[in-house]
Amino acid sequence: MATLCGVVGIGQTKHDTARKDVSIPGLVREAALRALQDADMTFQDVDAVVLGKAPDMFEGVMMPELFLADALGSAGKPILRVHTAGSVGGSTALVAASLVQAGIHQKVLTVAFEKQSESEAMWALSPRIPFQPPMLAGAGGYFAPLIRAYIARTDAPDEVGIQVAVKDRNNALKNPFAHLQVPIHFDAVKASPMLWDPVRYLETCPSSDGACAMVFASESVADKVSDNVAWVHAGQMRSEPTLFAGRDQVLPRAGSDCARALYQEAGIENPRKEIDVAELYVPFSWFEPMWLENLHFAEPGGGWKMTQEGATALDGDMPINCSGGVLSTNPIGASGMIRFAEAAMQVRGQAGEHQVEGARRAMGHAYGGGSQYFSMWIVGSEKP
């Protein structure tokens, strides 16, 4: 890597079911302007913009970077648009960081958004795919069988999913930007309607409007403009096929390989010990224990025990999703970037009430497609 890249500005919107008070440009500007303000910059200071979002059909605008160029002050500049399914928020950040790391640009603004109230995501996520039976009803329809397979493999007790939901939703109460801010308890989750067995209503992510933005700077610029930089220590992406009989969709090899490469790049041997806090993409409660295993925080079969023992709580030894996670806020295209940004906020000590004290190294994770697209990064309070 040619140059170090640092996060010098972070901004996100207040996430909500329907942000009727803003247009799509208004939404992305809310996040972008907050990130620029945090970096003490304006649109004029930025060399390039990298925009990410999930399927264009969610808002009904084809390649919306074209019209958002105006709102993002991009005229006369390069603007890239990334789309790697649900992992897009993370991939977008990594593409933006690579522009700095390669020495092409000094200051890059990256933005990810989704305004799900513009459409019906459930049906946008139920595509009629050629040569496949139309059996899916939204993302839950796809992922519930994987969760059932996980439970069958590991004999995990039913309460684990509920515990994750209770933890994440209560963490969200400490995050002023989170979408769902309603206190919930074990019995309420257990009594909530079963949507896709074993996923209950309160174990499912919401549909959100929201955006997230970050400003990246090269080492020389970051040293000058900020005394609180989250340095990018490592970033990796991996993808695997959609249709391939050799896939293990419960513990996907792409996720496992990606994490191993990530830790190697960051010089991490024991992630549970050496990473202080992680933001993982958990849209359905059970994905917390699944990802703990896939990302080598636990041995296969040990993920749910970590959750059950409280290791992933804000005050546990491996806090996961202190922001409330995707379970509390899910503007799909932005969800991955929010994970990355929350990790950076932790090492910058700016996570407020959901701050993990003394966090020096944090992980952001995003996944997408049929558990086949992965993007991850490690950020630290010190230079790598």
Binding site: S23, G60, L66, V82, T84, S98, Q236, L243
Partner: protein, 352 residues
């Protein structure tokens, strides 16, 4: 910047409708041909990136299905832009600049035949609050631009027709082109307007197509390629979206990218321009400052074949082809995206 070269390129012949193939079946053959051509194993590729749009396939995550053609097993570092493959080429070039890997694979695809009305679909690219609701379609917007160009007095409808004639004549020697052959300009000028002042010959065909490319770092490129097409410079820029906020007869983003890439530092033998409408070639030529010494669009360009999402990557590949066979030493490839040439990419390729 590290020295990086285009070492392989393949494309499907553009056709009006690939009725028997889904996206993944179009990408598969171009990748097979590409690896045969270059003579390397797929496992040697360190980074893969594709360019496509869901709006042509009519399903979300269409790129996830096409990915299977790249056989990403074991799992591979991979990315996707919802843009023309030329921007995937840009992302791959950035990745190789990091020096972590030596070979990158780029591919793109699109079936413009899928929607009932392509022009209607492209309307969804416009600002959804202020422009799209007016129903102004992609051809009408191009026509407004063409009329503005005529109003300036430097070109006539005959000039537009002659651009189209030259491209379709050149396309006769391009086996991948879709609309080719001579036509009589006087007769063509008698034909009715599609959207005044544009006639049928001024507009691109509707095409299904796919393309793929390999780029590599210096040592690998020298090993596998007798005369690599070195990427001397690469830049892309965007202009304001609102058509009323800019002078449609100029392309400041092309001019900026031309300056950044140093197009005029030396003689340009060939220029492959992505100008879907005949008058747009005139705008891009002018914005790029090309003179009569440069051979423009020997492939026939986008007026002869217009596989959306691949047409830009194909421009890069066409220039690389001419460098590999030694017919040119230095060429420029241009790609565009959006309505009225809103977004533009320029790259300079050299044989030495």
């Amino acid at each position: 910047m590290k020295k990086i070269a285009v070492i392989g390129f393949s494309q499907l012949p553009s056709v009006r409708c690939e009725s028997n193939k889904v996206d993944v079946e179009m990408v598969g053959p171009v990748l097979v041909e590409l690896f045969e051509q270059v003579g390397i194993e797929r496992s040697e590729v360190g980074f893969t990136v594709s360019g496509s749009t869901d709006y042509l396939s009519g399903i979300p995550f269409s790129f996830a299905h096409a990915l299977d053609a790249a056989a990403p097993w074991p799992p591979t570092p991979e990315s996707h832009v919802e843009m023309d493959g030329a921007w995937a080429f840009y992302e791959a070039w950035v990745k190789l600049q990091l020096g972590e890997t030596d070979i990158a694979l780029i591919y793109s695809f699109g079936k413009s035949s899928t929607p009932d009305d392509l022009v209607d679909v492209l309307t969804h690219q416009m600002d959804p609050y202020t422009i799209a609701p007016l129903g102004v379609d992609s051809i009408s917007l191009a026509a407004l631009q063409a009329q503005a160009l005529l109003d300036e007095g430097n070109y006539t409808e005959r000039d537009f027709a002659e651009v189209a004639l030259r491209n379709r004549r050149r396309a006769k020697s391009n086996p991948y082109a879709q609309v080719k052959g001579d036509f009589d300009v006087n007769e063509a000028l008698e034909s009715p307007y599609i959207a005044s002042p544009l006639r049928k010959h001024d507009c691109p065909p509707i095409s299904d197509g796919a393309a793929a490319m390999l780029i590599a770092s210096e040592d690998v490129a020298k090993n596998v390629c007798e005369r690599p097409a070195w990427i001397q410079a690469l830049d892309h820029r965007i202009d304001v979206h609102q058509p009323g906020f800019r002078n449609l007869t100029k392309s400041p983003s092309v001019t900026m990218a031309t300056e950044v890439t140093g197009v005029h530092r030396d003689k340009i033998d060939v220029a492959e321009l992505y100008a879907p409408f005949s008058h747009q070639e005139l705008i891009v030529r002018e914005a790029m400052g090309l003179d009569e010494d440069t051979l423009v669009c020997p492939s026939g360009g986008a007026l002869a074949a217009h596989p959306i999402m691949s047409a830009g990557l194909i421009r890069v590949g066409e220039v690389a082809n001419r460098i590999w066979n030694g017919s040119v030493d230095r060429g420029v490839a241009h790609a565009t995206s959006g309505s009225c040439l809103q977004q533009n990419l320029v790259t300079v390729l050299e044989g030495t």
